[in-house]
Amino acid sequence: MSRGNALEPLTGVVSAVFALSLGAFGLTTAIRLTIGLFDPVCFTAKYWPHDAEGRDLVAGVRLDDVDRVTLCVDDPVPWQHVLDFLSEAPTAVTRVGALLLLLLLLRRAALHGIYTPATAADVRRFGHYLLWVLPAAAMVESIARTTLVHAAVTFDAGFASFFGEWEAPWFAVITGIALLSLAKIVRDGAEMRADLEGTV
């Protein structure tokens, strides 16, 4: 069977993206743990009413709304630094983790063959990871950000606001469900392959 390097464009791209994002994450974390400790802690707040003062606007143009606002705490205390990290790192970490899982999957598939029960299990695991872990990371970030906003304002918007900022990474959810279907197809193919080897 002429499988050749069927996995090739993907393995190369995933390796490159993995290396890049790991490097970028390492660099930002290093900066955050050194220079960043002396910088103000800044975070985005959504759905907190603000008014903008526009200038140099053409006549007839008005600023209708402030969609997002950035708040900066000038002298943050340690726990604010921790929350700042928690409001950005989970998505980055879980994305790097997803790329690593995909890379391991591709390596093993290249070694043992694509249509094997082991690859099917790997694809299934990867699908569940995208489906559950990435939305959970986004949820953690939303809670951390809202806690920071609550600490910067003399008003407690209540428990529900912790989830108001949660933006489910729906592409990860859809890709995850797609991978669960793909895992079934791979398992099916593995059986087909076993049949083929049995008949030859």
């Binding site: 993907l10 606007l57 008005r62 950035t70 469900i177 197809i185 008949t199």
Partner: protein, 198 residues
């Protein structure tokens, strides 16, 4: 076998198609309402004032990171740009999910491991890889062109990069689909072998 996924894709296709049609009809039909759009490009240059309950604590600074502008009584070029903003991505998503839905339906009836499925996967992969980044960046440019009409000072065109979130998932998923297409072609040959030997 493709069961849970097909349902999700069909739902997403309906949502995207309805979103596209609704967006275009309301924008085209609207001749009275102001033309509004959001931009993150130069928002940081403006000041913001907290309007909510309570107040900002001492030592907390705030500035807007995304603003919504409204043009009063815009001309035809602005109206056209206003329709493009939003409609482009809705359209791209509708096409994406339509291609995916047709792929799944054909795969369910004709079989997964066929040369036709492999071709459709490859086409879908190229679409995801090229169309999604192009469309989202085009929309960011459209919003910047609108922003240029809203302020008296000159905003360089490259500022659209601040308003463009690159759809990295589309790049990775697109390459993944291309690979999957290759794999399906190999397995289609394998299946043909199997049928030949039986």
């Amino acid at each position: 076998m493709l069961r849970p996924f097909t349902k999700v894709v069909r739902l997403m296709w309906s949502v995207a198609a309805v979103g596209f049609l609704l967006g275009v009809t309301t924008e085209v039909g609207n001749t009275v309402r102001d033309l509004c759009f959001s931009s993150a490009a130069i928002a940081g240059g403006f000041g913001a004032r907290y309007l909510g309950k309570g107040a900002l604590r001492e030592g907390v600074a705030n500035y807007p990171s995304e603003l919504r502008y409204c043009l009063h009584d815009p001309g035809l070029p602005e109206r056209v740009l206003g329709v493009l903003d939003g409609a482009l991505t809705w359209f791209a998503y509708a096409v994406l999910f339509f291609l995916l839905m047709r792929l799944l339906e054909r795969a369910a009836s004709e079989g997964v491991h066929t040369a036709a499925t492999a071709d459709r996967l490859r086409r879908l992969g190229w679409f995801t890889l090229v169309a999604m980044p192009v469309v989202t960046s085009a929309e960011a440019v459209v919003r910047l062109l609108l922003l240029r009409q809203a302020v008296t000072f000159d905003v360089p065109l490259v500022e659209f990069l601040f308003d463009w979130s690159v759809p990295w998932w589309a790049v990775v998923t697109g390459v993944g689909l291309l690979t999957l297409g290759k794999i399906m072609r190999t397995s289609a040959e394998m299946r043909a072998d199997l049928e030949g030997t039986v």
